[in-house]
């Protein structure tokens, strides 16, 4: 017995090495679900903490890719919005008793595309936004551009193969049909070149009783924009006794200063609408 203890004491280092090896190998071979639950608790407390810190960093560096994914997802969701569709006309008799089309199925009117902003100005009198999406990727003239939070940005005026130019709302010639949410009275949004925060809502009938803070939305008359997109809120009312119309100062909800992505809206029936609008003028 004494000899054994003496032997172990002499080779203490070797035995401790052997024990550690055995411990490791037993752990390795017996690693299973039960082991995981037994050791897991305090192991995960340490490792989980470090990993969560690490993930926070990794997440930060992944933001760019995450952003692109979210944009794609948003476009997909936007395309599913009910207001993009027009129902079939079921009042027309088709000659048979049974409708040939499913009346629940709808016709798509608006289609959304994402686009990255590569150029943007807001300090000039005629401001344009350049985006990296062109005719090859489906952009057409007169398509509407809206910002990610759903407020409007402008209208596409020039298109080449891979880039397009958007006439921002902050442009002296920009004109968008809009309405007051309160009583649905329509007017048009213009810009006087004074402040990039303030737009003008002109030609509002004096019968409207706008209050400060009223919401201004796009009207259903516009051929580019879907109806009821946010434009801004009434900031002040300019009273002009010589005119039958009110002019309202609108605080724009669009943040023109940090646009990174815009959504382009294609109206599939735009040509039809503008054709008939122009025809009417020609007859006069």
């Amino acid at each position: 017995m004494k000899n054994i203890i003496g032997f172990i004491r002499q080779n203490f280092t070797f035995f401790s090495f052997l024990i550690l090896q055995i411990v490791s190998l037993v752990m390795l071979s017996s690693y299973s679900k039960s082991h995981e639950t037994f050791f897991g608790n305090w192991n995960n407390a340490v490792a989980g903490n470090v990993n969560s810190y690490y993930n926070a960093w990794a997440y930060f560096f992944d933001l760019k890719a995450t952003n692109a994914k979210l944009v794609a997802e948003n476009v997909a969701l936007r395309n599913e919005l009910a207001q993009n569709f027009v129902p079939y006309d079921t009042s027309v008799k088709s000659g048979t008793l049974i409708l040939r089309k499913d009346s629940l199925e709808k016709i798509r009117k608006f289609f959304y595309y994402p686009a990255k902003v590569v150029g943007n100005s807001f300090t000039l009198q005629k401001n344009y936004i350049t985006i990296e999406r062109g005719s090859l990727e489906g952009v057409k003239k007169d398509m509407a551009a809206i910002s990610p939070d759903g407020s409007i940005v402008g209208v596409v005026v020039e298109v080449n193969e891979h880039y397009s130019k958007i006439m921002s709302l902050l442009h002296r010639n920009s004109k968008v049909s809009a309405m007051l949410k309160r009583d649905r009275i329509a007017g048009s949004i213009e810009w006087d070149g004074m402040s990039p925060d303030i737009l003008l809502l002109k030609n509002i009938s004096k019968s409207a009783l706008p209050k400060i803070g009223d919401t201004v939305l796009t009207s259903p008359y516009s051929s580019s924009f879907p109806a009821q997109l946010m434009i801004g809120r009434v900031a002040s009312i300019v009273k002009d006794p010589s005119s039958n119309f009110l002019t309202l100062n609108i605080k724009s909800t669009t943040n023109f200063y940090n646009l990174e992505f815009v959504y382009l809206v294609e109206n599939k029936r735009m040509e039809a609408q503008s054709n008939i609008e122009q025809k009417e003028e020609g007859n006069e």
Partner: protein, 173 residues
């Protein structure tokens, strides 16, 4: 700097590098897994006796195992090199060892040849044992041989790079 403080700092630093960077980078090839964490064992001062390095190896390996969810795998390999380290050091520099207890193995203290041999042998043993244990669970012989050699090469490269970058010779004087 205090020796214990310095080595604790290294312990954490190299583990973090292993966990956060080397384990996360996409593998170049199935055979190549970059390992650097055991450089902590290689850099321990000469004065540490066998039992200390063995225990430290176990602690180091097990800490890494917690993060990689492989309990015992790295612990076994790191314990082995912790145990064998004094043997190889004794082979390379028998007489000077007793005089310079606080000095560490580096190019400056050992010279290019012995140091390269020292890190190569320990790296090789580490990977041989580690991949052997892996191989017992899955894989075939060519996987074993290929992974041992390529991973050893990769680790040698990393260790020499770290050695050259940090240039520990200056710290000694």
């Amino acid at each position: 700097m205090n020796n214990i403080l310095k080595n604790s700092f290294r312990f954490i630093l190299f583990l973090l590098i292993q966990i956060i960077i080397l384990n996360e980078i996409p593998p170049i090839h199935q055979f190549i897994t970059p390992y650097l964490y055991f450089i902590f064992i290689l850099w321990l001062p000469f004065g540490n006796n066998r039992i200390t390095t063995t225990l430290l190896g176990f602690v180091l390996g097990y800490t890494l195992d917690i993060f990689t969810n492989t309990p015992g795998l790295h612990a076994a390999a790191a314990t082995l090199i912790g145990y064998l380290r004094p043997t190889i050091l004794n082979l390379l520099l028998a007489q000077e060892l007793s005089e310079e207890l606080t000095k560490e193995p580096s190019i400056g203290t050992m010279g290019w040849g012995p140091f390269t041999f020292y890190i190569f042998s320990l790296t090789f043993i580490h990977h041989f044992y580690l991949v052997l244990l892996e191989w017992l669970q899955f894989g075939n012989f060519s996987y074993f041989i290929g992974k041992v050699f390529f991973t050893t090469g990769m680790s040698m490269l990393l260790i020499l790079l770290v050695e050259l970058l940090l240039n520990r010779r200056k710290l000694k004087r």
